[in-house]
Each structure stands twice: as C-alpha cells, then as structure tokens.
Subunit: 117 residues, 2 copies
Amino acid sequence: MTDRFDGHHLIADLTGGKRLDDTAHIERCLVDAATAAGATLLQVRLHSFGSGMGVTGVAMLAESHISIHTWPEYGTACIDIFLCGRKHDLDAGLATIAELLGAQIARQTLLVRAYRD
Amino acid sequence: MTDRFDGHHLIADLTGGKRLDDTAHIERCLVDAATAAGATLLQVRLHSFGSGMGVTGVAMLAESHISIHTWPEYGTACIDIFLCGRKHDLDAGLATIAELLGAQIARQTLLVRAYRD
C-alpha cells in the first residue's frame, strides 16, 4: 500500500517553551517523540550553544529524522519530523515534544515527500 | 534588519541522482552545501543503510541544519536546508548538492520559520 508519495514531513514552530537550554531534556524530547511516532531511533546528536543558550538536536531514524532547534531567550523551538512510511504518527511525535517543553504549537505545515520517483 | 520571521527552510526532492550510496560523497555534499550557503558547520553525522543502500546525513550548523536522505534504488534524495538569518543562500546550497549528485530538483518548497515570537 505504498506509492511514490509515502514520506511525510511535519514542520512546526513552538512558543512558550521551557527547559529549552537543557540538553538532556532536549534529548529526551527527541527520544520520546521517536517512540510516540512509532519510529526506530538510530542515534541522537546534540549541540549546546552554551549555558542558558539554545540547543540543536537531531534524531537520526531508520525512517529519516527529527530535528529541534531551541531559542530559550524567546521561548521558541523549531521542529521538523520527517518519516517515510504510512504507519507513523507524526502528530503524536510533535505533541510529545510540545508537552515535554510545556509549549504551544504556534504553526505547523505538513509536506508530502516523494522519494520513489 | 531582522524580525521574527528570519528563518528559512528549503525542502526539496531530487531525482536522477548518482553516487547516492557513497557515504563519503554524501558527506561532501553536506560540507560543500554549507559552504555554498555561507553557513558555519559544527558537525556532520552520517548513517549508511548498507552496501548499495541509502544514506542519511545531517550537517549541524551554527544556523540550524542541512539533512539529506538518499534512495539509490530510485535515484532520489530528499533534502532540507534550514538556516536562521537573512544572509544565507539556501538556493546555492541546494544547487551544490544537486550538481554533486548529478540530480534534478523535482520539487521544492520554501517555508518561513518563526523563532523570535
């Protein structure tokens, strides 16, 4: 039940978030989001921009990736969840991150990705 | 000259690509794309799905990230280039990857990201 359009990419900007400078918490966001989405985690990479500063995190998945970039000074985070396959729940992944950060989803866009051309 | 909408996220699907199973070449795509875009590279992470199989690569940047996922069996690659700041040339980054892979840009979408709410 697959066709050439079976990748989905959810792009979302969050506001009102907390613990956005907490690297271990950002890692938890990525790991729990992958689990919630039903994806298979390969590795997580994190980069802190310094004490009290933002964090970049990427979860590399068997089904593509989840990334997060945070700006504690604004309470914001930019997320993208790209999963190939129809069985995954991107919304659950995003909701998990928003909940863990105590954030609101200010805007989101769902793109269909084609990789079977 | 910045405002709350100063992140840009370019999403593109490529077709007709070559060397899509070549991990070192995918790494070069990411490094050269970051340079072409005028971004500052922090680290590159790569995952090969096996001999002749696809590669996932992520370049973590001071300005966010570039990711690539490849499917050699289809000749396709899915790219996203997310850069915060108005000075960067996302199109040049994408063109660099397409040229290095000998691929065509089948479709692309540019999203504006808000992180200064």
